[in-house]
């Protein structure tokens, strides 16, 4: 589990983490804002999308290493959005976030090959820990 040390303090630069681009997709503005701030301070490049359509549009324009995707959203749900984005880029890793017992959708997402799913509310340390693991693996592969 990560602790406060992972947060980027003012003036510091974290080189390798900045390589990871993260897209936070959630219809709740509070979720987008807070997660973006936490992850940016942890050294990641973060963008946000308000729904599935917006996420597909953004993923079409640029590559994201990781997409944190909410499940239940207006318009298309998170799983449908993952299907579309996977067509654009198969390298992106998906972390599904859900506040609902959407077991059918989660099972579908697992079959699609998502990296992980987490239940809301989750301690931010948990998401940072997951991202750290992905980052480590990516660094190893790059080397």
């Amino acid at each position: 589990m990560m602790n406060g040390k992972t947060i980027k303090k003012s003036g510091e630069t974290i080189e390798k983490r900045e390589k990871l681009k993260i897209l936070v997709v959630d219809d709740q503005s509070g979720m987008r804002e807070t997660l973006s701030d936490i992850l940016q301070d942890a050294g990641y490049v973060v963008e946000a999308a308000v729904d599935g359509y917006c996420a597909i549009k953004k993923a079409g324009k640029q590559f994201f290493d990781i997409i944190l995707m909410d499940v239940i959203m207006p318009g298309i749900n998170g799983v449908e959005a993952i299907k579309e984005i996977k067509k654009l880029n198969s390298q992106t890793k998906f972390i599904l976030m859900t506040a609902y017992s959407a077991e059918t959708l989660i099972n579908e997402a697992v079959k699609l090959g998502i990296y992980q799913y987490i239940n809301k509310p989750f301690p931010p340390e948990q998401i940072i820990s997951i991202l750290e693991n992905i980052n480590k693996n990516k660094t190893k592969n790059d080397e």
């Binding site: 406060g4 509070g30 506040a99 509310p121």
Partner: protein, 447 residues
Amino acid sequence: MKKSHIDAKDAWHSSHLWMVAIFIMATILGLTIATSISISILRPLKLLDDSAKLIAGGNLKELLYIQKKGEITSLANSFNQMILSLRHQIRTSKTILEAIADPIFTVDMAMNLTYFSPACEKLSGYTSKEVIGKKCYEIFKSDICEKQCAVKSSAKNGTPTYNVEVQMKTKDQKSIPIMASASSIKDEQGNIMGGCEVFRNISEQKRMLRELKEAEEQLIISEKMAALGRLASCVSHELRNPLAIIQNSAYYLKHKFTDQDAKLHKHLGIIENEIISSNKIIDELLGFCRTTKSELASNDINKVIELSISRIQLKPNITIEKNLAPELPPVPLDKEQIHQVFVNLISNAEYSMLNNGGKISITSRQNKGMVEIEIGDQGCGIPSSDLKKLFDPFFTTKIKGIGLGLAITKSIIQNHHANISVNSVVGEGTSFFISLPIAKEYSKTVS
């Protein structure tokens, strides 16, 4: 002259003899006629009179037999026809009374039983011989015999009394609820001669009504619970989003202001802890919503008990004593749900002993085709006034708790076609008993 005197004397004597003879003959003839009349008319009339008296007394056993033909014989035959007709009518009435499944009895004006139907014998346990001539209220000991006798009431008002619900007692002093109707028996002039009561054992109807009412209440509760479940599920899920956002914000602030005011950190910590508590409540609510379905599979109950114990961290002053019967037959159960039941009960037991500590005893055993689990504590106990409400949703005695633990427990137990009961003594402790049916494939060999 002498000769003529003798002749005259002889003639007189002779005529005198004739007269005597005629008188005797007339007497004999009269007697013969009288005897004949007596035999042919008076005797049969006497027989008819005797027979009429017997019939009036209720005896229809004997028919009249008159040898000679004539008017009297014809009368006797009519009399016999009347007896046979009466016999038939009585037999028909008796058959009708005996064919009626509802008990019937009749009484005279002094409330002495005069008829006691076979159905009456069957229900009351008394034989007709035992009760005929006895007071009906001494036999039935109904709760309203003295105050509201149905027979007396109908006799008084002159109209039948229908469907009075009362309790009667059988010979073995068992109290039975009955529905009674009564009517007075009147003679030709309309004078009341007694009464007749027909009643019905309504134990079964009462039981069915009670069960129906219980089922109805259960249905209302189930519907309420289902609605509550949907509401709880919806609200819980909706709350998780804002809770996640608050948690993120608190986390962000906590790490952004690392060297700042200690009170700021204390309050951020409070926010985080309360989020954890709120999330537990949501989990509990969602757990409650999820108890509607159970996926049953044969399991070793002792293993589920062991698993539950291993997952619970008890306070140091509380210990667990296990008395698990070896080689119990498998029980069809939803492992996760029964685990939740044990966790709930063990947690409650722990809570009741928080101040003074104590021992939680967990026992498993087999009893009459069921596997029983007893979870007992030495805690504060539950007042009897609270015992009825114990399994109601949102009933709690805990400072922190929403009172769903035991409601969930009961719901799970019901899904398992099992029973849960509680026994508690204030100041001594509480024991919960769970009876789970054994898996069918094993129940034959163990019963």
